[in-house]
């Protein structure tokens, strides 16, 4: 079975977000980047599926942000191929461009199963996975926590999460795109020495794809920080003082009698 995993770079939330002067985009020059968390889960899920040696894992990424760290780490974890999509701009590709180029890249791999994170916090146009699936003319199932192989070749079992900690067991006839919320186990740790080895030996295959013009259907009119006016009333003081204040509030509101 061939598995393709899409890895996207997103702004690192531990760095404060800054806006461009025209307030229409993030200042990507100032942002830190890291791999999208649920994409990392998608990679972990792919590695788990490949553990019995019957599957090959290919990762695909745009050459943007801190992609090298992500890809060397993926190499160290033991993926079979790493494909990069050239990207020169200082901002990440827009949805339409990303859809077209990722789809092209994936077609060159001809995978049976495509895994991608089911959400990324910098998505403005809804989840990316379903869009990619439509472009590839494949079915999509998202918010998946856990994927297993079944006795039937080319049929996987996936658990789709529902409210109330319920889940639906779904059978997936490949080829298909799965949007991963979480893998069967958290992303594995790989020692830095392995990553450093990968830095010396890993090979990235840079794809040559036809460029795609950006779309104009959705545009950002303005980005802003939420008004904090009506937010929480902040309590001040050291731990003891704050604890006393909280207790007072609870007594006042009748939560603590």
């Amino acid at each position: 079975m061939k598995i393709a995993v899409v890895l996207r770079q997103v702004p690192d939330p531990i760095e404060p977000l800054e806006l461009m002067p025209d307030e229409k985009a993030l200042d990507y020059g100032e942002a830190g980047f890291l791999v999208n968390e649920s994409d990392e889960h998608a990679l972990e899920q792919a590695l788990l599926l490949a553990e019995d040696g019957t599957a090959e894992v290919t990762v695909l990424a745009f050459d943007f942000g801190d992609v090298e760290t992500t890809l060397f780490s993926a190499a160290a974890k033991g993926v079979d191929r790493i494909l990069t999509i050239p990207w020169e701009e200082p901002f990440p590709p827009g949805t339409d461009v990303a859809t077209a180029l990722f789809a092209d890249a994936i077609r060159s791999v001809r995978p049976d199963c495509i895994l991608i994170g089911c959400q990324a916090h910098d998505e403005l146009e809804g989840a990316f996975g379903p869009r990619l699936a439509v472009e590839l003319e494949l079915p999509y199932l998202g918010v998946v926590r856990g994927v297993r192989q079944t006795a039937k070749e080319m049929v996987l079992e996936a658990h789709k999460e529902y409210p109330g900690a319920a889940k639906a067991r779904m059978s997936v006839q490949l080829p298909a795109v799965l949007g991963i919320l979480a893998a069967d186990q958290p992303p594995r740790y790989v020692p830095v020495s392995r990553i450093r080895e990968a830095m010396k030996s890993a090979e990235f295959e840079e794809l040559e794809l036809e460029s795609v013009p950006p779309s104009v259907a959705v545009s950002v009119a303005r980005l802003s920080f939420p008004l904090r006016g009506d937010g929480a009333r902040m309590l001040e003081g050291n731990e003891r003082e704050v604890a006393e204040q909280i207790a007072e509030i609870l007594v006042e509101k009748g939560v603590l009698t």
Binding site: L34, E51, Y189, P191
Partner: protein, 406 residues
């Protein structure tokens, strides 16, 4: 919880002994006479399935598989008691343990989750706390003495002060950082910091077994330090001090360094006249493992405490080379859950009781981890009204009128 790699035990740990013997420090392992002093001295020895003695036995038997997948691998807190007492002087803490852990990681065996996060943070952000590197100077916000940021200006200074991760980011420790800054200025010492360029020295991850990560940090730091002009590096963190003293030279990255207790003790005569306000209290000092057992420095901290007017120093029963570790080293800060899950205990809980039993009102420490560890343990033991925890810097600062209200 350790997630096991899905593979059979066969082949795991193969060639471990040979690999260990190929290092000059590892060769001593053959000298082990299986006396068990190490296991008997280890504060967590009883909880370990494979304490050092048994580890060596398995290595020599070429049967490391059960050891590598045992929870014991993640129970060493780097206290050096075994190393100090080994009659054959085998470098257990600094050579055997990291080799075992490194091998476990190489084999794909997953370390406890909290440790993973700490290591990942270290790799990505240069600090174990996972905080933004850009906020590394936040501790100095509103600092009332001039600060030389060597990442922004070229200057020759007497002291390159490596503040450290906890002292930079953790509120309880930031107080100590500011007080130390004031203290050095008061003593007329020219000092500078690396600002947002400062990274962890990689002290602890070497004991975690993350050799690769340690090497990465050594490379970065070597480059950073070589660009600076200074007489000596001063550190608040004993683990970082040990790293610079013992390990960095092996990578051709040795620099003159002192832990702050040594640095200040050397200048005791300039310091003494500045200790004008009395700090009346009974203090007991907890020897940290790195400056203490590992590097053999026990008297400087005591000299500093005794110089403070009003302070009465009392000793715990286990002091100096017999001090009980707080449990925070060797990754211990992130292993409490793992350790207690496997039959061990939080050593700081026991130590705080020992401190209180001396009748002291203050437990003095000189390691950034210990402030929060002991304060936590004091609460757990219900002793926070009987004994408070203070860094030596805080006591000195109070006597110099440079202290901050907590």
């Amino acid at each position: 919880m350790i997630h096991q790699a899905v593979r059979s035990d066969e082949g795991i740990g193969e060639g471990f002994l040979e690999e260990l013997l190929s290092h000059p420090e590892g060769h001593d392992i053959l000298a082990c006479m299986q006396c068990g002093t190490c296991s008997g001295s280890c504060p967590l020895g009883l909880a370990m399935e494979y304490p050092p003695r048994r580890m060596i036995l398995q290595a020599r038997r070429r049967d490391m598989a059960p050891v590598l997948s045992s929870p014991s691998v993640w129970m060493c807190v780097g206290c050096y008691t075994c190393t100090l007492r080994c009659p054959r002087e085998i470098d257990l803490t600094d050579t055997l343990w990291p080799a075992v852990r490194d091998r476990a990681l190489q084999e794909g065996l997953q370390p406890p989750a909290e440790l993973q996060t700490a290591l990942q943070n270290l790799y990505m952000y240069g600090n174990v706390l996972g905080k933004s590197p850009r906020k590394r100077l936040e501790w100095a916000r509103g600092l009332d003495v001039p600060l030389t940021d060597l990442s922004k200006e070229r200057a020759a200074v007497e002291v390159l002060w490596l503040v450290g991760c906890y002292p930079s980011y953790y509120p309880r420790n930031q107080v100590v950082s500011r007080e130390f800054a004031r203290m050095m200025t008061c003593l007329g010492i020219s000092w500078g910091v690396l600002g947002v360029k400062e990274k962890s020295l990689g002290d602890c991850d070497r004991l975690f077994g993350e050799e690769g990560l340690f090497e990465t940090l050594v490379e970065t730091n070597k480059e950073l330090f070589e660009r600076q002009k200074f007489k000596t590096i001063v550190l608040l963190d004993p683990h970082s001090y040990r790293a610079l003293e013992v390990f960095y030279p092996r990578y051709d990255a040795g620099f003159p360094a002192q832990h702050y207790t040594m640095f200040l003790a050397d200048r005791l005569e300039q310091l003494r006249p500045l200790l004008t306000r009395p700090v009346p209290c009974r203090v007991t000092y907890h020897d940290n493992c790195c400056v203490g057992r590992r590097c053999g420095s026990y008297e400087p901290p005591r000299a500093l405490l005794e110089a403070i007017p009003g302070v009465e120093v009392v000793e715990m029963e286990r002091n100096r080379e017999n001090a009980l570790c707080c449990g925070g080293g060797g990754g211990g800060m992130w292993l409490d859950g793992h350790i207690t899950e496997h039959g061990g205990k939080r050593l700081s809980d026991e130590r705080i009781r020992e401190a209180a039993a001396t009748g002291a009102d203050v437990l003095a420490v000189s390691c950034p981890y210990e402030l929060s560890r002991f304060e936590d343990s004091a609460k757990v033991a219900g002793l926070e009204d009987r004994i408070v925890v203070r860094d030596i810097i805080e006591l000195l600062a109070e006597s110099m009128g440079l202290g901050e209200r907590r």
